[in-house]
Amino acid sequence: MNPIVFGVLFILIAPIFGGLLAGVDRIVSARMQSRVGPPLLQPFYDLGKLLQKEARQVNPIAEPLLLGHLGFMAATGAMLVGGTDLIFVAFVFALAALFLVLAAGSVNSPYSFAGAERELIVLLASEPFFILMLAAICKVTDASSYQGVLSSAVMVAPKLPGILLAFTFVATIKLRKSPFDISTSHHAHQELVSGLTSDMSGRLLAYVELAHWYESAILAALVVLFFNWSVPLGLLAFAVVYGLEVLVDNSTSRAKWQLVLRSTWVVTLLLVGGNVLALFLIK
């Protein structure tokens, strides 16, 4: 099949996937707190409402930046499964995330700004991991594209156990789960109010939400890379990782940014760096 078809399919399916995932997440979280929780389709209702609601804009630049965030996030996913060079995708992924930071920072208000700075910190914490992870996958499979990795005869996960382990750690940041939900919070009681979404309303917030769904889908696609011999197994692994994230989300308090940065760097250096080193030395 044409890689472009994959890209287009991703753009169409990812929001449905991400939204349903968020719906399941909310129900499971509620059950873990012995509550009933919202209906499964709640994230879609929320998105629909946000799109129907008035958008109060503090400045004219935030919306284009958020569109950039959404657009580049979708593009990241499309490029990833569409067969663009994996390492380049890592850079585009960071760019997409950066747009959100800039949108929040452009408001020039204390809470959005602090949220933006914290998001920049979590980007700083997670970015080395994604570059190293994709580089290591390329190295181990001798491929440079998504399709290349999937069709490679080398099984990725057995060769990159450290990186897979670190992935579950870093995914906490990307999924905005406790203890690493320092820049935004799905729960209200956070010192930064809503963090970097503090000054976004209506459709602006909907863009952020939608982009986050794309982000979840991208993470799912990345997990599949580890299980390149069987896509269903990869998706199952993502479900396990996500389940773990929800469990951890419900079993920890929010960390401070210093810890987030330090621990992620240490994990990246030890687990990922060690794994990469082993890869280079053994191969």
């Binding site: 958008a55 109060r56 804009q57 503090v58 400045n59 004219p60 630049i61 919306e63 284009p64 930046l65 950039g68 657009g71 580049f72 593009a75 490029m79 663009t84 060079d85 390492i87 380049f88 850079f91 585009v92 960071a94 950066l98 930071v101 800039l102 920072g105 452009s106 408001v107 020039n108 208000s109 204390p110 809470y111 959005s112 933006a116 700075e117 914290r118 920049l120 910190i121 980007l123 700083l124 970015e127 080395p128 991991f129 570059i131 190293l132 580089a135 390329c138 440079s144 109010v193 000054d199 210093q258 940065l261 330090r262 250096l269 760096g273 990469v276 080193l277 890869l279 280079f280 030395l281």
Partner: protein
Amino acid sequence: MSSLIVFLVAFPLVVGGLLLGIRNSKLRNVIVVLAGLVVAGASIVTAVTFGNGDAVFFGLPNGLTLGRSLLVLEIAIAVFVVAVSIQHRRILAPVLVLGQVAVSVYLELSGKMPELEPGRLFWFDRLSMIMVLIIGIIGTLICIHSLGYMRDYHRSSPLIKGRRTVFFCLLFVFLGSMFGLVVSNYLPLMLIFWEVTTLCSFLLIGYTRTKETIGYAFDALNMNMLGGLGFSVAILMLAGQPDGLDLAKLTAGPATAALLPALALLCLAGLTKAAQMPFSRWLLGAMYAPSPTSALLHSSTMVKAGVFLLLRLSPAIAGSSLGTLVAFVGMLTFLFVSLVGVTEQNTKKVLAYSTIGSLGLIVGCAGLGSPELIWVGVMIIIFHALAKGLLFLVVGTIENRLYSKDMENFDTLLSRLPLVSALALTGIAGMFIAPFGVVVAKWTAIRAFLEIPGWQGAALLVIMAFGTSLTLFYWGKLLIKVLSMRSVSEYERSVEKRISRFEWLAEISLASGVIGVAAFLGVISEQVVGPYALATFKGTSQSFLHIEPVILATMIAALLFLPALALWASRHEGYNTADFYAAGRPVTSGGVMGMALGATQTVTLRNYYLDGVVNGKLVFRVGTIACGVLLVTLIAVGMVAR
């Protein structure tokens, strides 16, 4: 043919001398602009004339010979340095320069100097072409920019004595000597130009003649003189080798063990000039000079001379432990200065750290040496020259409007100086946003690192991953400040109107260059850089750009579309800058919040500098020591290899 090169080198020198005598600023404006156009034109003509491809060698036109002029020039430089040092009671610089002269005089008198092959004085190939274009065009734009900048600079700092005649003279001399440097094939000739650039930067950094800047100027002088001394000792050692002083032959392939010590010293010279750790301090001190100086030093001259030399040496040192050590000095410098950069609040210093880091990458590529990495190195030179030149000029312009270099005072720039901030955004984008050059180069570098076996490959990957993320952090911070908005008063809006035409011309040209080069990345790679990389390493034909140019073009178009959308959005109603969330407190459109105890205050925001996690000073010290150790090992390795 060769007269074109001589013109290229001599014309700026002559113009520089002429400018020394012109005190009328209108006349100076005319001369600078005209001379600039001639220089730029000459560089383009040169590039077109020679730019068909392969390397060409030539000597001086019409039977001119160098004779002992090189020695005379060197002694003249030494006399000048000694005089200045005595005036300011410095000891290290005269010692170094005298050592250098001693080496040259010994060489000359002992007769060890090999016969010069007259037709191989100059070397022009694609790398020289790229450098000549960078120097000719970007250098000229910076000179033109200075016309506007210096006027405002002296207006905003009335205590500094205006010596604009000297300033413009130095700029042109700088350009001339850089031209000379990048086309030299004969090492002693290159050394002379090398020393002239050192001297020019020394004078430019010390331009304001305050105690502080003189100190920094001597820092620069000392470190570069150390490099210069290394250079001349290397010449001394190479003089005994066959074809030792012919750069092209010296670097035609992997060097023999006998050559390694000299090459190590040449690398030392390159590292000092490229301000790699442990020599990074001089470039930071240089930030106290007027901004065009920084722009010139960072984009097209001086530091580029260092990486130029290393790129030239790359085929000789690649694969040896010397090359690996050089590469690690560069890559570690990249990592450490990126880490220091996140703790820095002075915008010019952030730019300086970014420069050192980018140069570190180039050094890393040069040290490791493979067609792909050479491609990366040259690409970074091009993009960095454009983007960083632009950024320094923009920061200079901002500095003259806001009277601050502090990143924290650049907030709401988009509202106050919209066009300037658009230019700043272009520059920053050029440095780290995905489809623009530097990122493409880094990406290719990562791919190349994957092929490097052993722990080195892994280490380089880790360094690259962390270093890149760190640059993302400080650029992100700067972007947040530049992109933020609030309501501004009529007066604040009028500030932008007072920027001179010279500055606009230079900055807009450079910004177009950043975008244009990114847009024509494929062409540049296929036509110029790729062939150069393959020629240098005699590689088999391959493509360096691993992406559909369509995707790159689409991304650039999308990125350009976003500001357009912003502009469109700003004309529409429906936004209200007084509507930000302030925990329910009253806010007004200028960003004034109600505060505790009934007070009011304008919103002030300070970026995070990772206090308590990263100690900038400590990191800098650690980096300096680590790279210093590597450097000593490097030289030792060179000596032992003999």
